[in-house]
């Protein structure tokens, strides 16, 4: 497909290039300044990088649809169509009612105490047994998602152990068809195989979230044929994203000790601080949408039957929306307007859980830790997820 709309600028810039992914922000700045949408010649999709453009697309699920997939390649779009993420309208409402049910604030109350106690125990061990030296990825950030969330999802042990690996592979496959995507396909295949053959009655923990999908299929609340793809709503996004948020927070508090002091003096800023971290470092940098009709966007026409990529990570640093956008300011008055969880009807259904985990962990850290010092870091080069392979820290603590 060619872009026939001569008012939309074109660029051969590749946001998924090895050189761009570790620090995508200069590239986002360049695309954002070019216009409300930019045709990426390499991928034949429109990049949306302005806050207003991304929000418009996310908020208009009539014209920017999810039911033909939200990934950046057709293979994955075909594979996942029909789950909550990749559906529209009444069917989406019906599916979401089931998949989001365990993640409502009320439903999460049952996990609250456990998450708080696990957070406190973990921080005590990292400071006590480890003397405050640990890897913020493996030792800190992965703990709650692996210990609590993977258990809540309800896979048998062998499945639980692979969830992290599957998640990383699956999100790589969400990107355009590049080398990283192709390399990850076989691992994703194993996840799909597992979802088909192991995520079944008797093998899932009774009463778990995944088991509840089977109940919903039995009662007719969701179509039986959707069960396998619906498992993807839990298997893919429930770990890596939260892990990314936790690690990014540690990284920023090392860089801005004044902000850590400010937060220690006023713990009430914590939820806003979490928003500010997520604004700067969107754990997932972007999802796509299929354009179902010609749509006006800030003076240009996005043509029917094209695809757009909504770059959350770019929208979140748009100076038209966020003053001094690269600055980490935990008291920023509009930090909650970030689009890292998306916006509108498809907004992240695990949002409340992710926040509960991050807030609990940092509440525990706030009571003991005076300073974070990053000693060694290695960024993960990934099509979608913003994370580190390794973030070794040393903390000063009380």
């Amino acid at each position: 497909m060619l872009d026939t709309n001569d008012r939309i600028p074109q660029s051969n810039y590749d946001p998924y290039h090895d050189g761009a992914l570790p620090n995508p922000f200069p590239g986002y700045d360049m695309l954002r300044d070019m216009g409300p949408a930019v045709w990426l010649t390499k991928y034949e999709m429109y990049a949306l990088t302005r806050y207003s453009s991304v929000k418009q697309a996310l908020n208009d699920d009539t014209n920017f649809v999810s039911g033909r997939g939200v990934m950046m390649n057709e293979q994955l779009n075909n594979l996942l169509v029909g789950n909550t993420l990749c559906s529209d309208g009444d069917m989406h409402t019906r599916l979401r009612k089931v998949t989001a049910a365990p993640m409502t604030p009320g439903a999460l109350k049952s996990l609250q105490d456990e998450i708080r106690m696990e957070s406190e125990g973990l921080v005590d061990r990292l400071l006590g047994d480890r003397g405050g030296r640990f890897d913020a990825v493996k030792d800190l950030a992965q703990y709650l998602p692996l210990k609590i969330v993977s258990n809540a999802v309800g896979l048998a042990e062998e499945g639980r152990e692979r969830m992290l690996e599957w998640s990383e592979a699956a999100f790589n496959c969400f990107g355009p068809e590049n080398e990283r995507m192709l390399r990850s396909l076989p691992v994703l295949g194993e996840m799909v195989e597992y979802a088909n053959n192991q995520a079944v009655r008797g093998k899932l923990r009774k009463g778990s979230w995944a088991d509840a999908i089977l109940d919903a299929a039995d009662s007719g609340a969701v179509p039986k044929e959707a069960v396998s793809v619906l498992m993807g709503d839990y298997l893919v996004p429930s770990l890596d994203t939260t892990i990314s948020g936790i690690v990014s927070a540690v990284w920023h508090f090392d860089r801005s000790p004044d902000q850590w002091d400010k937060l220690r003096n006023d713990n009430a800023l914590l939820r806003n601080a979490v928003n500010e971290v997520l604004r700067l470092e969107a754990p997932l940098q972007g999802f796509g949408r299929y354009v179902a009709n010609d749509v006006q966007m800030d003076g240009v026409t996005i043509p029917k039957d094209s695809r757009v990529i909504c770059f959350y990570g770019a929208a979140n640093r748009d100076p038209r929306q966020f003053e001094n956008p690269d600055r980490f300011d935990i008291a920023r008055h509009n930090a909650n307007m970030h689009l890292s969880f998306g916006f509108g009807t498809h907004q992240c259904l695990g949002m409340n859980l992710a926040r509960l985990e991050i807030v609990s962990l940092f509440t525990a850290l706030l009571s003991r830790v005076r300073r974070f010092h990053v000693r060694n870091e290695k960024r993960l080069v990934h099509n979608l997820v913003r994370n580190y392979e390794l973030l070794e820290v040393e903390v000063e603590f009380d």
Partner: protein
């Protein structure tokens, strides 16, 4: 400019200048009023911008939608007849002087 007053559960009142066209949620946050979280940034997915609109001003507000009802039903603080999500009420000049009470907790 129209004035809008937020009153905390403990009775502390803050009056701010309210820009017409903005939601009550946005006005509160932009003016440093604490007690509204709005964690979904206005997507109507979280119920953490719950407020109680002083009864004499309720008629100025559009009726609750079904989705708003659903979220208010699971909000952390007590559901009352004047419960609203502040992201769903857009400030209009006629609402000058409106008083909005904040719940004890949004979680």
């Amino acid at each position: 400019m129209a004035k809008l007053t937020f009153v905390t559960a403990l009775g502390k009142a803050t009056t701010v200048d309210a820009t017409a066209g903005e939601t009550l949620m946005r006005i509160a946050l932009d003016n440093g009023v604490t007690g509204i979280e709005a964690e979904c940034s206005g997507s109507m997915n979280c119920g953490t911008c719950h407020v109680y609109v002083a009864p004499q001003f309720l008629d100025w507000c559009p009726p609750r939608s079904e989705s708003e009802e659903d979220l208010l039903a699971i909000a952390a603080s007590e559901l009352r007849d004047n419960s609203r999500l502040s992201c769903q009420i857009v400030m209009r000049p006629e609402m000058d002087g409106m008083v909005v009470h904040l719940p004890e907790s949004q979680f």
